[in-house]
């Protein structure tokens, strides 16, 4: 009744090709963005921002990057953690080498380093496919884990071996470092994520995005109709790694505050892969839904039994987290291989004809 597109006529090509052709969608998205920019910083407390919202946004960005590569271009990658580490460490080096430059700019620039690395590790994708490629991306994961842990230059010869985020200001407000408030960091992350997500939505519906999907669905057929596999796959690797790199930089600079290379281990790569499976392969909104899901599960497992009056210890929480995550992956693959995003689409279709479905 309320969600109907009847009467919304498109009279120009521009309006026909809008990002959100349905008026209700447009307002809904604007409402969500407005809410997260204005209302959430005012009402949310530090726990919500630090434990849920900031990691949710950062993981969404990383999942978005992986979804571009795996969901849209069909190249399975298990090396997201490695690319995130490249972003984080290059951001750290940039911030310490150029202390005067705006840190937000440097976070965005550090993505280009991981994009370059992504290009290099994308080259084998031309010759090898599917599972072989997945294993090749594992090389990136383990190599960078080793590199940033062993070569002291990357963490500025610290005794601790960890990178500590220095305080950087933007118009006299501390954006990074220990004195930055959760609100500021949340707004910074939100700005970057919204900006990059909008770009991603536009890329995947344009020429490049269509070329990716053609390669994903059948690469030989795509080649026959004139899509260059080399450039298309490499662009996918570069853009995907850019997103992963920025996410990695934000992960350290806006969320953790200080980090050792272990935070980018192989489990984070899997976690992000799970986000896009649960959220929906080949869908932008899926990255956000999946990230929200995976960030919330451990919090629910910790808090639910406590509310019910039977607290469980931290180790058990960890074990349950693994078990439930694994079981959920299998269940989602069996019942809804297209993930939460597909469930949302089905709901939308139902909503359109509600309350008279016949």
């Amino acid at each position: 009744m309320f969600y109907r597109e009847a009467g919304q006529f498109k009279t120009t090509y521009i309006s026909d090709q809008e990002l959100f052709p349905v008026k209700q969608d447009r307002w809904g998205i604007l409402l969500i963005i407005g809410f997260s920019f204005i209302v959430i910083p005012l009402i949310a407390n530090d726990y919500w921002l630090q434990a849920i919202l900031i990691p949710f946004l950062i993981f969404s960005l990383a999942a978005l990057g992986l979804n571009i590569l795996t969901g849209y271009a069909g190249q399975l990658s298990l090396g997201t953690g490695g690319f995130m580490a490249v972003g984080a460490y290059s951001c750290y080096k940039l911030v310490t080498i150029f202390p005067e430059t705006n840190v937000i700019l440097l976070i965005l620039v550090s993505g280009f380093f991981s994009a370059g690395i992504g290009l290099i590790f994308g080259i084998p994708s031309l010759k090898i496919k599917g599972f072989y490629l997945a294993v090749a991306t594992l090389a990136a994961q383990f190599f960078f884990e080793w590199l940033f842990g062993r070569v002291k230059w990357f963490y500025n010869y610290n005794d601790s071996g960890a990178i500590e985020v220095p305080v950087r200001k933007f118009f006299d407000i501390a954006v990074t470092g220990p004195i930055a408030t959760a609100q500021t960091r949340y707004v910074v992350v939100l700005c970057i994520v919204t900006f990059l997500a909008l770009i991603a939505v536009n890329i995947v519906r344009g020429r490049i995005g269509r070329a990716w999907m053609a390669i994903r669905d059948m690469d030989i057929a795509a080649e026959l109709i004139g899509i260059r596999p080399l450039t298309t796959k490499l662009i996918a690797f570069a853009i995907s790694s850019y997103y992963a790199g920025v996410a990695g930089a934000l992960f350290v600079f806006a969320y953790l505050g200080s980090a050792e290379v272990e935070v980018f281990d192989i489990n984070i790569s899997f976690e992000i892969l799970f986000m896009i499976i649960i959220g929906g392969l080949g869908s932008i909104s899926g990255a956000f839904l999946g990230a929200a899901f995976i960030v919330l599960i451990p919090i629910l497992i910790t808090n639910l039994p406590r509310m019910l009056g039977m607290p469980i210890n931290a180790a058990t929480v960890e074990h349950f987290n693994f078990m439930i995550l694994g079981a959920l992956i299998v269940l989602f693959l069996i019942f809804e291989p297209h993930g939460l995003a597909k469930i949302w689409t089905i709901m939308r279709e139902k909503l359109r004809v509600w309350p008279f479905p016949y």
Binding site: L138, A139, E145, F322, G326
Partner: protein
């Protein structure tokens, strides 16, 4: 200079070089065993079983866990085999059967899900702390033999591991070649539909291959556990079976064995002679790089079948 010096070291101390090769050989055999269980499943069901490494840990942990609970070692061993059967059966019933005809990539991700489930489940039941493998109780030797005035040290357990690995490979070759179910298994590996049409039950075959892989996992787990301890940290090392597979090709048993030995020996030599020069612990990624290097020349692996693609 750093590229040439290690070669002089090798020639200068051949006994030490032999020792390094032996260490690599033993690790390589364990990689081969994991890769072998993997190839079996891949051939019979087309599933890229990411969980093979975890099955190794899970099997070893079940064995040790049962023993800790007071069961004697020779009762715990068949009991663990039974557990692996139940695992194979439930994987087939609950996961594979529901995912028939899905794209390969979906099945692969399902096995990653299975991996996480087994990690959580295993730690929940047996606890997360590392355990000692019950080497003595299983009557495995644990002394060492020395040659060349104590310069070359061979652990008896390593020799036993090599013999047991070789024996199980021979046994499996006989099983696949001589028994009815083994022949059916090869038929399924060759062509699913043709196998179905001559009356072979795919579901049974899947349970059988997953079970065999589970038993191989148990053998690997015992050997590996005897060398270090049993904990889920092993699963990262077990991931090394993946470059082994890339190197050997996903569909070749021979490839799994040769690939395992190349990776095992190559990585030990690399670590010992070059690792120190670039900061150490290059074992973590060297295997992947070796595999990647081979891929540039043979994208289907050393013994893999060349995939012919059609539109």
């Amino acid at each position: 200079m750093i590229f040439i010096q290690p070669f002089f070291d090798m020639v200068g101390d051949p006994v030490l070089f032999l020792q390094v090769i032996w260490e690599g050989f033993v690790t390589g055999i364990l990689y081969s065993l994991i890769a072998f269980g993997f190839v079996l499943i891949f051939k019979a069901s087309g599933v890229f079983n990411f969980a093979q490494g975890i099955m190794v840990v899970f099997a070893a942990l079940t064995l040790v866990g049962l023993h800790e609970a007071g069961v004697s070692a020779f009762v715990a061993l068949p009991a663990t085999i039974l557990v692996m059967y139940v695992l194979a059966f439930s994987v087939e019933r609950l996961v594979l059967r529901s995912l028939v005809n899905q794209p390969d990539i979906i099945l692969f991700m399902a096995t990653i899900g299975l991996t996480f489930f087994l990690i959580g489940f295993g730690e929940f039941i047996f606890g997360g702390e590392p355990k000692m493998m019950i080497t003595e109780e299983l009557l495995l030797p644990y002394d060492s033999i020395t040659f060349f005035d104590d310069m070359l040290i061979l652990q008896e357990i390593d020799i036993a591991a090599s013999i047991i690995a070789a024996l199980s490979l021979v046994f499996l070759a006989l099983f696949l070649g001589k028994t009815k179910i083994g022949i059916a298994l090869r038929a399924v590996a060759d062509d699913h539909q043709a196998a179905l049409s001559v009356g072979i039950s795919l579901n049974t075959i899947w349970v059988v291959v997953w079970f065999i892989s589970g038993v191989i996992a148990l053998i690997t787990g015992i050997m590996w556990g005897a060398k270090s301890d049993v904990s889920f940290a092993l699963s990262i090392i077990a991931l090394k079976a993946l470059p082994v597979l890339i190197l050997g090709g996903f569909t070749s048993v021979r490839g799994a064995i040769v690939g395992g030995l190349i990776i095992g020996i190559g990585e030990k030599i690399g670590e010992f002679y070059w690792g120190g020069l670039v900061g150490g612990s290059i074992e973590g990624w060297l295997a992947y790089m070796i595999a990647l290097f081979f891929l540039f020349f043979r994208p289907q692996g050393l013994f893999g079948e060349k995939i012919i693609e059609r539109v």
